[in-house]
């Protein structure tokens, strides 16, 4: 039996602004991880990565990042990914103030 797939989201940096974006179910990119598509099947995740890599005019360096289902949608697991959802801790800049547009 295959091992259970650890849920993931696809994330990248936006070409023009450089900030973190996440791939949604309807083939768009969101600045809010809660709107991301949570991938729970490896084969489907591979298909979605192919789609993400085909969007070079929006998404730079797409990759799969571990995530969990939260109350409002996917939430990050790793600390680094947590930082990408909000911005630096020393200044009120980034998504924590600009909002996840």
């Amino acid at each position: 039996m295959s091992r259970e797939y650890t849920p993931k989201v696809i994330t990248a940096n936006h070409l023009m602004l450089g900030d973190a974006i996440w791939l949604t179910e309807d083939d768009t990119w969101s600045r809010d991880i809660a709107r991301a598509e949570l991938l729970t099947d490896e084969a489907h995740a591979d298909m979605r990565m192919l789609f993400a890599k085909g969007q070079p005019q929006i998404a730079v360096g797409p990759y799969l990042a571990e995530a969990e289902q939260g109350a409002l949608g996917p939430v990050p697991v790793h600390l680094r990914e947590v930082f990408r959802t909000r911005g630096p801790s020393n200044r009120d800049h980034g998504k924590q103030v600009d909002g996840a547009i």
Partner: protein, 555 residues
Amino acid sequence: MYHYSDFDEAFVRTRVDQFRDQVARRIDGSLTEDEFKPLRLMNGLYLQLHAYMLRVAIPYGTLNSRQMRQLALIAARWDKGYGHFTTRQNIQFNWPKLADVPDILDALADVDMHAIQTSGNTIRNVTADHFAGAAADEIADPRPFAELLRQWSTDHPEFQFLPRKFKIAITGAAADRAVIAAHDIGLQVIERDGALGFRVLVGGGLGRTPMIGKVVHDFLPQSDLLPYIEAIVSVWNLLGRRDNKYKARIKITVHEHGIDEIARLAEQRFSEIRPGFSGVDQQVLRDIEAQFAAPDFETKPMDCFHAAYDADPVFRSWVDINVSAHKRDDHAIVSISLKKPGATPGDATAAQMDVMAALAEGFGHDELRISHEQNVILPHVARADLPAIHAALKDADLASANIGLISDIIACPGMDYCALATARSIPVAQEIATRFEELKLEHEVGPLKIKISGCINACGHHHVGHIGILGLDRAGVENYQITLGGDGTEDAVIGTRAGPGFAYDEIVPAIERLIQAYLGLREDASETFLQTYRRTGIAPFKAALYPEKENARAA
């Protein structure tokens, strides 16, 4: 200071035009990211956690007021109103938008600046003693040599695809303020029989395999500088481990082949290429040196300085701590601290940059320096002007009297910005500085260098901190290792790891225990932390860091 020649100007403008075209082609889809990435990195443009980051070179850490004002303008117009001065005397802008970067590079070119070779496997910005040209203990101003190296290394066709990055630092004084022993090549200007030359170190570096540089030449004649450095880089360019990026730096090459073999190969290569250096480089050097002539110092009455020094304890403390000896007794070197307790080490707002530029223009012969310790220096000020300078700095929130003390912490951007980081470093620096301010212990503790890196690459120089802190990721949680007894001066030593790491909320209390241990151990107030450590060894400090272990042993 150096002003661009027509050649420099044309070269930099051409590069900006090329990059403008490359950005346009990336945006319209003609270039893929794989094609574009090396091009943007050649121009200092990184992609970090939250945004692009532009690293601008500040050659040998020297700026004039016009350049500092332009950095302020860039911060205000195209970024979020501040910039971050780095441990390699550069400045980083954390929030540029891709489409704006060509305009930013044009604005830099307007003031003889660029971001070329601030990334990639090239020869990076040559760093220098931030007191160069001003220090009382200096043999010669190292910056003309640094500028010669900059011109030689910029776009040098042989060295655009090196095995890895390559960093050169130079000092003109015996007291090493440029950490030359932790560079791929470290140069110290020395004098022998009335002639200037260089002591050349090779193979130093921090990162995952920290090494102190080894002497490859104990007196290199001045006129042999370029061919000899070219010979070393050339030898490494062939021998360097391109198969493994963790073994690609020259420190590993020196370690694997031995310093004697590297010296032999460098001599051999040197003898081949030396005839090609016809003396044009020395002519160029003389032209450069003329541009670094000492300013016309003015003698001013010192009464108001003495009066302020006697009357104002805040001013007195600032002078005692932040002001260093200048080669002229009636002048001084001012270190402006970018380390106000609680602030981000190395950050300056656009308004603060403008204030520092105005001070340089009004009182400092138009010169500013950036130190690798992430502070700003006014290298040439009359002592008579110190009260006015201090007053202006107070108004700009730049008057912290803490240079060389516990809150004058070097910290890399860490996980708050950097894509490579494994842990935060800025908040750790902020909390240590704030904690010791609350305890009012900073002056009691005296000279102490804490250096923090948020990953193994060691941009925060933690190995050469008296107390070094390295932030790592342990199973998804930040964990901080402490090293003790490091030293980045002429007596360079790599610190020793104290033991297991500490969680984020344990690191500040751990540092506090170390400091309390030092205060209990020192023979008297004149014995510094490093001196005490060297006298007692690591054991009592380990005992303070890990009291549970000590208790278990006692039980």
